[in-house]
Symmetry: none
Subunit: 199 residues, 4 copies
DNA sequence: GATGAATGAGCCTTCATTCAT
DNA sequence: GATGAATGAAGGCTCATTCAT
């Protein structure tokens, strides 16, 4: 990786962290200068069209972090019911994460994007959220096919339920700075999975 | 009501609507001028200390709208299990509302406040969220006492679960501009209530 | 005096005090509202053309306070040399005054007016300063005529010297909040008067 | 000197001139934009924290101009009595100055700072005034030690007297736009120095 | 590749003033 | 005589962005 590419990645990493804490619109280019230690021009050299371009790159990076973590976990967890539970656990990891503080970037961005209808982030965050929903849906569908999940389970409903409650739980725990709210959601999802989803 | 009070209320109403759509920090005083039809000074006459004061008043108003709606519904719905279901239905009403578009003001504000740690809105939104959680918790507790809810139910977990999933569901439906996401959450909560909570 | 006139005088008194402390341009109409306890309209009823009109009235009042005090003192002090000394003492009284805090209104206004060349206050403060200078000059001239002051004394120079050093002394004492600076000026003027002016 | 430094110095020079004429609070950033030919951001790039920071830098510069002029004069004037007289002459130079119009920045600022008690300029102007007073005091003290000034002279009183009357004289001459007032003060100080201070 | 000087639109707020009540 | 609702210009400041070096 060339020095330029390294700098670019560093900018993305730092920007993703700040954006996730203070929002895309709450973060100024000056904040990013401070975090990266670069001057104005140094950043614009890598993101010629400015803050939006950087925001997209940072969001993609932030989402890839949680995606990769999911992928890693799923390498060792193969039963559909266990995967559903593990899916939730990864949200908890993210909440405590020091690499990307600020909770789930997908939800954070979703709320902000909603307030800026034409913004390019809107499409990106929709795609990311769809990927999250699809992941749960596919776990359930495959689980049904494999006989790991009860056949009458509605995959779409479970997907909406898992993602909604986990995102909401992260929000509550951040609001009160108290991980117990997300923990209660996880407890409930685990119990529900064991008692009503596992075949 | 004096003309000044009327104007003040009108400003709050309009501001609450804009804030809920575009966020407290995404909304400029110029936006509020446009919506209210007043000039700069006309707004500052009513909110001497500026945008923050208006933001607090608008948030209180926005929260009172959903609170009042809850109160109204609970006048006719008295069984705890029915109240839990009705609680969720009110979120759906809010999502479609034309008076206060933009979904649930408590969650919207929670996300924004999180990015502005010292801001006075933080305490306000915590109080509001606590009120929401307490409402569910008390419905469950009273329901258990009255024999309407299964006695082994954990009120705190149900509260966290209901609020998290409903807020998350609103977020999903707003993101895709598609009410089905929240509907799936509501379906799941109703089914869960009927099958596992109702005594 | 009618109630309207009484209110008018009250406004002038309060305004003069605030103006003398914070300057004509450093004082807002809101400050004057606070001090007088009146609302906007209440003040504009009495000073139809606004802040400038009030500023002129307040300056006239402030200057009359020191003028009247001079007149009072000169009723009992008749020797020219004593009057010169008494002239200085009145400046010290003004510095400590609680009725009109802020030191000599003539100098305060002179500095401010200087920064606002076209302002109506400029002429007013020139007239007031001329009255102060003339007062000293006439004391000296009459003193020479009566044989109380040495005949070779230059009245204009003494006038410039007394007024300059007293105004400057007030300024120093206010700057350090320490009356000793003005006191040193007074000591020097007294000694100079006794040793070189008194016939 | 880099281009940035040059611009910064230029801003300070222009700002000092405007401030000294129209006061720190009577001068708007728009005025400074006009004088410097820079846009808003161009000025804030050099004075990140805004008008106050610029005000302090400008005051320091303005004071250094008169300080430097004093130092220059004192290189060729060594007798204490002559230095006292020269001290006064420099005030006259400043009054006529085209580089820094508006008279003595120390007094101008002292009056304004007095109206803004908490302002950072207050301390700065006190230090500057103390430097002026100390300069006279030390001239006298050294003069006594060297036998150039009469030994019974009170250095503190002379310092207060010189500074007060010169500042007051500048004020009078500015008020009337007539240098004779300051001239009379200078005449008196010279005569006093020759007749009563010179050993 | 990186610097940092400069731009100019936009933000929140304060102010003196007017006028219907 | 007095109130206070409303105006609109002006103030200080921040921001994303450009570009010569």
């Amino acid at each position: 990786m060339s020095k330029g590419e390294e700098t670019r990645e560093m900018i993305i990493r730092e920007a993703a962290a700040v954006f996730n804490r203070f929002g895309y619109f709450g973060t100024s280019m000056a904040d990013i200068m401070r975090e990266t230690g670069l001057e104005k021009g140094g950043i614009y050299n890598h993101f010629r069209s400015g803050k939006d371009e950087l925001a997209l790159a940072a969001f993609d990076y932030a989402f890839s972090v949680s995606s990769n973590r999911m992928g890693e976990v799923f390498k060792t967890v193969r039963h559909a019911a266990d995967r559903l539970i593990a899916f939730g656990e990864v949200f908890k990891e993210l909440l405590d994460d020091r690499v990307l503080p600020g909770g789930c970037p997908v939800m954070n961005t979703a709320i902000e994007a909603d307030a800026h209808p034409g913004h390019p982030l809107v499409n990106r965050v929709r795609e990311a959220m769809t990927a999250q929903l699809d992941m749960v849906q596919r776990i359930v569908e495959k689980g049904i096919a494999r006989g790991e999940i009860k056949p009458e389970t509605d995959a779409q409903t479970i997907a909406a339920m898992f993602v909604s409650s986990l995102e909401g739980g992260v929000m509550l725990s951040k609001l009160y700075n108290d991980s117990r709210y997300l923990q209660r959601v996880l407890d409930h999802l685990r119990e529900h999975t064991e008692m009503h989803l596992r075949a």
